[in-house]
Every structure is written in C-alpha cells, then in structure tokens.
Symmetry: C2
Subunit: 241 residues, 2 copies
Amino acid sequence: MTASELLIRTLMVRDKLSAEEIEALRALPVRERAFGRGEAIVEAGSEPRESCLLISGFAGREVLLDDGGRQITALHIAGDFVDLHALMLKVMDHGVVALSDCSCAFVQHTALVQLTSTHPHLSRMLWLLTLIDSAVQRQWMTSMGRRSALEQIAHLICELYTRMEIVGLARGGQMSAPLTQTVLADALGLSDVHINRTLKALRQISSLTWKAGVISIASFDALAELCDFDPGYLNLVQRPR
Amino acid sequence: MTASELLIRTLMVRDKLSAEEIEALRALPVRERAFGRGEAIVEAGSEPRESCLLISGFAGREVLLDDGGRQITALHIAGDFVDLHALMLKVMDHGVVALSDCSCAFVQHTALVQLTSTHPHLSRMLWLLTLIDSAVQRQWMTSMGRRSALEQIAHLICELYTRMEIVGLARGGQMSAPLTQTVLADALGLSDVHINRTLKALRQISSLTWKAGVISIASFDALAELCDFDPGYLNLVQRPR
DNA sequence: CGTCAGATTGATATTCATCAAGATCGGTGG
DNA sequence: CCACCGATCTTGATGAATATCAATCTGACG
C-alpha cells in the first residue's frame, strides 16, 4: 500500500475525511527510502526538513544516555507518522531507529506546513496523531511505574496487537513482531534477563507464544484481563475532531 | 497575570507572534475558576467542551489503576495549557487534578477550533505545546526506565526549576514546590518511603533543601551534572515554527 | 563446520516495596 | 494558651522484585 493510502486509512479510523481532503493527502509528494534493521532513520540532535511515515516494518524512538543505556519511548508500525514531532520541535531531542527492516516515506515540512494552512481539519488530524502518541506514552509510563513486569509485558502485547489489527497486520491471535528481547527490555525499562524470565512466566500462565518473531495469543481477552488493558486510549473511534 | 498574557508569554518563548496573533489570543473568551488542592480539574472519562490553562498553582495528569495505584504522568505549572489534549481526543483517558490550590482559565473548544482555522501559525504553536509535553514525557520515561531513583529525582527538580524560572516563579536557586512526597512518588513510579530516603541522600550529596514547600538548590549546575540534565527538550528557543 | 546474535539459565548483589512505628508540625476547638 | 488531631515526614526491619555477571544453549547462515 502506498504511503498516502496508509495515512488516509489511519486518519479515517478516527474521523471522516472529505473527498477534497483525501485528494490533498494523495497529492502530498513523498520520497521513499528503505532502512535496514538497526539503522538510524532520524538522528538525535539533527534538524530534519522532512517527516517520516512508516510504510512497513518496526521503528522505535530512543533516548540514549551517557552510560550507554537507552530507553525506547515508543514503538511504531506501518501507517504510523513516526516523525511529525520534528515538524514543530525542529531539533530532535531523541532518535528514530529501525527495529526491523523498514520502508519509509518522507514528506517535506514545507508541504506539511502548507497542508496545515490550507486544511485546518487535516491539520487537527495530524495533531491528533501526535496526541495519540502521547496517550500511548502515558500508558507506558503507567506500566513502568505502577504495573508489575508481567503486567507490563502483557499490556504492551495487547497494545501492539490492537494497533496491528487495525492496520490489518494481525488477525486470529497472530501477529508478526520481529523484536529482540533486548529491544523489549529497552522499551520497558527492564533488563533483558528479566524480560526473558518474565516472558517465560507469561507463556506459562497465558498460553502465549513468541517464536521466530511471531506472537500467538491464545485468548486476547484473558491477556487483557491480566493487565487491565482498555484500548480506549488508542482512539479507535470515528468522531468529528 | 491574565490567562491570555500567560499564554502569549509561553508561546513567545518558542517563536515570535505577530501583533494580529497576539490580538487574537487576547480576544479568546475565558472562564476562570479556582480549585482546591486535591480537587479534580478534569475527570478521567469525561468529554470536556473546554480546555484548561493553568494560571497559578500546580496540577498533575494522573492515570488511576484498579488496585488503587496511580501514576502521575505530568506536572503542570502556571502558564501551561494543561488540557489541550481534550480538544482532539474528546474522551479523557486520564484525569487532571489540582496538586495545590489552583486557578484555571477555561477556553471553549469551539473558540479554539475557530482559532486553529483562522490562524494556522497559532494552531501550530498550540500543537507545539503538546509536543513539548511529549518531549517531557520522554524524559520522564527515560528516568523511570534507565536512571537511578537519585538521578530521577534530581532530573525532575532540574526540569521543574528550569520551567519555573521561565515563567518567573523561580530565581536564585529557590522555587516554591508544594508537592507532597507521596505525589512525588506517584509521579516517579516509586514508593513514598523510598522517595523519602532518596531525598535524604540527595540533600546530603548536593546541598539541596526541600522544606515547607520550598526547594533551594545550592548549585544548579552540580545538580544538572549529577543527572545529566540537558534542557534542550524544553524548546526554550525562539524559532520559526 | 565455525561463527555470531539471540535466548536461556543459574548464582548472587542491589534496589526498591511493604509493613510498622514514631516524630514533626500546622491547625483547631476548648 | 493548651491539648489534640490529622497529615506528612522519618526511620527501622524485612522481603520481594529486579539487576548484574557469567555460562551455556540454540539456530541461522556463510
């Protein structure tokens, strides 16, 4: 699927778009580029002149520390407008990295600013996307601060599954998730060893499988129950915005 | 200071505003209201029709869990447009609570939407404010996941001091911070007992004082050094946005 | 067959939570 | 003015959660 169609679909999950708006999105000029796993898509400290929409693969935002530690603050999947932030922030306070092989579409900031000027509603919709990112961050913080490692992992899996399902990348309790346990550790703020052990425990109590980059969930509801997952924060409802 | 002047100042830290834009902001109709400490400013699950700008006092965003736990995901001070999120998200996935006595200004969503339609640049500036919130969240996540409790507290103090200084509420190493240790614990994802002990350690190694709601920092630089604080993420620079 | 990244496991140390008990302090009613 | 009260801060003792260090195991792949 092309970048604009992906974006249109992502937006239409949250609100109706007029034919004219859809046209405007289709008219956005994009430059496509592939990244290998581990490659930096946007460097921390840089000042990008374009924003990146993820067409396929997994990407993450990361903050790196002096001592070599890193915190992944967000995971992104196909259809996510990964780097709208740079549009307003100008200087990247974090990096975006490919967690699997990725295909990206870049849109010039000038084109996006133009779009926000001529289409206030689309402007709000893009704003909305970043606000949903914020809501996801709130849930991650809640997990890190107040949920057990087990619940934390379960919650992340529920979130990922829900998001993947929306874009047609998950179904029947199965989804591809080519994430290393170390990546998971950096995302959840835990050590990789602890992730390994907790994952083992989770497999045992919830008949869940995570092998060769594929997660299989026996019962999503049971998993959601376990970690008190409520998808409301993902804003998967059409509403005038 | 009035709500609009506060907002104008907050925005002008990040970009220049035209006289006409300043006029438009001044013309925003606001309704003011006071809240006592502990009072809910915006209820989780509600669907506000107006957004809240903090005129004075401290407020927090909080996510509550089944088991009675809570995670505070953001702290807000005078000048912060606390609840722009509701403008797009419609349903609150979290609550906003007064952490001290607060004075708030509410702006109707209809007025804000109107503003975003007629003033694309102001629209982007409001968007920017929420993106800065996001950047702050990233730092908090980094602290929670990868910094020690000591560094985490130090980092929060550095951030708060920097933000307070901008709006003229801190100077000479002193600022008012009427926050309970329990509030701090809920914000950092730690237990209140642990906060107490770590705070004691921090007082000893960095000649810092926190008494009767007033924080005194002997050397900001030393504190910043301790936790690797870099204010870049707060976007305290004027730039065309 | 060797290599390498990732997963797994064991042993041990550290950090942090929990439970319980004072201590401090501002406010309040008598 | 004083006794009391509740909220907050403080401290100690103990246990659970998690990190760290060090091997070993597995599987893909040249």
